[in-house]
């Protein structure tokens, strides 16, 4: 069961939301509805969040991200639709149930921190517990633990005004963590921070997430941040969901021109991984091959090096053209002695790192699954350039049916982008 399930959620602002709803159902555009005095916050939004998932909601300014996230703890009333949390419809909650829900199950980090200036850092972090009625000693203790978690040890008695923006947002995060809720809502929580601190915070959030396994809904209008953090991404426009999927889905198969435009300016080399630039190795060598066979394979394909795998594709290393020629001249019988250890890379390595590795290694780089040791293919310079040139065709090559002469001489390690 999903942790959160949002079903056809619609929020209309204005004094007569139901009139706006009628116009929406009649297919009127947001502009027409606005002209009639209503504002569409979000319309028929559906998605779900798994337990422990970090879901990013992304979109341009005014696309309804905040409206949406604020419906999850009912800071906004819901005009139509349902929000199920752990199977319970929170839109049907009574005031008392809602209070309890907000106290125990869900907490929020705000874009502009929203700290209480007259309270110390500790008392800020303890606010949620204080509201729950936890006694003073216990809540201070738990607040201090949360502050330590976000790296603010030693600042417990300071006031928010004495802290930098990055530190203030850590307090905001500690305040949300201190209540130990299952769900964390973060509305552009890092947008007000400068880029360096922002990167730190993203990094720390990922680490915290790995440790604490919270369900996080994170809003951003920054695609880099979305791709960096999100397990899945909800992309919004004009209050509607235009695409819902993993970062790779969104990059590789933009659902429409809007998503494509959104994706256009992203620094692909930071976002994409080796997997996207992977091409299958059409011809490989096996340890049992003799030097002549290997040399032949290389000459056929015009290779300067060839990768060596076991029959089950377990990666062994590479053999360079020079080494193979030398071995033939020397009349060597097998190739075991020729196999060079090679700097293999994992499929999830960032493309930036792949580029660096390629610069240091004269041949194409094998991509090896870290756990199984299986060779998934190779990354070549051309492959990387093609992906960065936003030319999906190069990546998709791996989906082609295997080469005609597949059977014994060549092994089609057909594991490409789609894997």
């Amino acid at each position: 069961m999903s942790k959160i399930r949002v079903e056809k959620l619609t929020k209309i602002f204005g004094s007569h939301p139901h009139e706006g709803l009628r116009m929406l159902d009649a297919g009127k555009s947001n502009q027409e509805i606005r002209a009639a005095g209503h504002a569409v916050g979000c319309a028929n939004v559906c998605f779900d969040v798994e337990e422990g998932e970090l879901l990013v909601v992304m979109g341009l300014s005014g696309s309804g991200k905040s409206t949406l996230i604020r419906c999850l703890n009912l800071l906004n009333s819901v005009t139509r639709g349902h929000v199920y949390v752990d199977g319970e419809d929170i839109t049907a909650y009574s005031t008392k149930q809602l209070l309890e829900y907000r106290r125990r199950k869900i907490s929020m980090v705000f874009q502009h921190f929203a700290l209480f200036p007259y309270r110390t850092i500790t008392d800020n972090a303890a606010y949620g517990l204080e509201v729950q009625g936890v006694n003073a000693d216990q809540r201070r203790q738990r607040a201090r633990e949360a502050l330590q978690l976000v790296g603010l040890k030693g600042w417990e008695d300071a006031y928010p005004g004495q802290l930098s923006g990055g530190m203030q947002q850590r307090v905001g995060l500690a305040r949300a963590l201190a209540v130990k809720s299952d769900i964390l809502l973060m509305d552009e929580a890092f947008s007000a921070l400068d880029p360096l601190i922002r990167r730190d915070m993203q990094h720390e959030l990922v680490q915290l997430q790995q440790r604490m396994k919270k369900t996080i809904v994170f809003i951003t209008h920054d695609l880099d941040e979305a791709l960096q953090l999100g397990d899945r991404i909800v992309l919004m426009k004009d209050g509607r969901v235009v695409q819902f999927g993993t970062p790779e889905d969104i990059l590789n198969n933009p659902a429409n021109a809007y998503v494509e435009r959104f994706v256009e300016h992203v620094d692909l080399s930071r976002v994409l991984t080796a997997r996207a630039a992977l091409t299958r190795a059409r011809v490989v060598a096996y340890p049992k091959d003799g030097p002549r066979t290997v040399l032949h394979k290389m000459n056929e394909e015009n290779f300067t090096s060839i990768i060596v795998v076991e029959r089950d594709y377990t990666f062994r290393g590479t053999i360079s053209l020079d080494a193979a020629e030398q071995a033939v001249r020397d009349g060597a019988r097998n190739i075991e002695g020729l196999i060079e250890r090679t700097p293999a890379i994992g499929p999830d390595t960032q493309l930036t790192k792949v580029i660096n590795a390629l610069a240091a290694w004269p041949y194409s780089l094998p991509v090896v699954d870290e756990t199984s040791g299986e060779c998934l293919g190779v990354v070549t310079r051309t492959g990387v350039i093609n992906v960065l040139a936003d030319n999906p065709a190069s990546g998709k090559q791996a989906d082609d049916p295997g080469p005609p002469a597949a059977a014994t001489h060549t092994a089609a390690v057909a594991r490409g982008v789609s894997a």
Binding site: S107, A114, F116, L185
Partner: protein, 282 residues
């Protein structure tokens, strides 16, 4: 051409009739109020004048030091000592008592009304015009009906003073609460605060500096009104001025006037700092 004569609307007569009726039927309440408030005023005045002046000056000095720092403390002590020296001590104490009582009542009434008006739009809509009325009506006018209700003297003076000095307490309470940043309110909501928790843990603490500015204004208005109220027998420093006017003694009049200014400055500096210090503490 002659304009048709429209008979004068008998507003004054109507008000008189109304007030007389109220006096007649509410007398038992107003008398009770008068005796209670009068008793309190007399008690405090007696207590304060029983203390030797130097002791009171030291106490005020210490309070000023704690609330507002050394500079204010020194000037307060010097100012009060000068009043003592001018032989105006008793008058100062009685004026101060009236201001104190009136301010306490004004804040006691103003704070809850201000909170109610800030939290409920409808209450706010009723309260605002009443405040405008109370503040633009010339202060003297309140004195006239106060006499039939409460008799001549300190009680009438304090009632008129309360009416005159409550509006800033209400206004600045409303302002302070309305000024609380929206995202702080949302943060309070998001963590599941009840309305009460939100009020006491977020709205009032955030509004405190503004509310204290309102209290400061209330004190200043109360002081100015207490002086005017000498005309209905409130006594004190205002009484000195009033006597000097009737006897045409400009020297005495100015002396009492300067004493009022000194008292005003002492009260102002001390209370002003209380609010401001809270703000600096962030």
């Amino acid at each position: 051409m002659t304009l048709p004569v429209i008979p004068k609307f008998p507003l004054a007569r109507l008000l008189d009739v109304g007030l007389n009726w109220l006096t007649l039927h509410l007398a038992f309440i107003t008398r009770a109020v008068a005796s209670v408030v009068g008793g309190i005023i007399d008690g405090i005045t007696a207590g304060l004048t029983w203390l030797p002046p130097w002791a009171l000056i030291v106490i005020v000095g210490l309070l000023a030091w704690r609330a507002a720092g050394r500079r204010v403390a020194i000037w307060s002590v010097l100012g009060l000592a000068f009043l003592w020296n001018l032989r105006l001590w008793d008058a100062t104490v009685s004026t101060f008592t009236l201001v104190l009582i009136s301010t306490l009542i004004a804040v006691g009434i103003g704070l809850p009304i201000g909170i109610a008006a800030a939290l409920s739009k409808r209450t706010g809509k009723v309260v605002m015009p009443v405040l405008d009325f109370m503040q633009t009506m010339p202060a003297f006018v309140y004195l006239i009906p106060a006499i039939p209700f409460f008799g001549l003297g300190a009680v009438s003076a304090s009632v008129a003073t309360v009416i005159f000095s409550t509006p800033p307490a209400i206004r600045l309470t409303i302002l302070g609460i309305n000024q609380v940043p929206h995202d702080l309110i949302e943060a309070a909501d998001a963590f599941g605060s009840t309305r009460r928790q939100k009020l006491f843990k977020v709205q009032l603490p955030m509004a405190l500096p503004t509310i204290m500015a309102g209290v400061n204004q209330t004190i200043m208005l109360a002081l100015s009104m207490v002086v005017i109220a000498a005309m209905i027998g409130a006594g004190g420093l205002g009484g000195e001025v009033w006597r000097a006017i009737q006897r045409l003694e400009p020297g005495k009049g100015f002396t009492a006037g300067i004493a009022i200014v000194i008292l005003a400055m002492v009260l102002d500096r001390i209370t002003q700092r209380i609010g401001r210090r809270k703000e600096v503490a962030r």
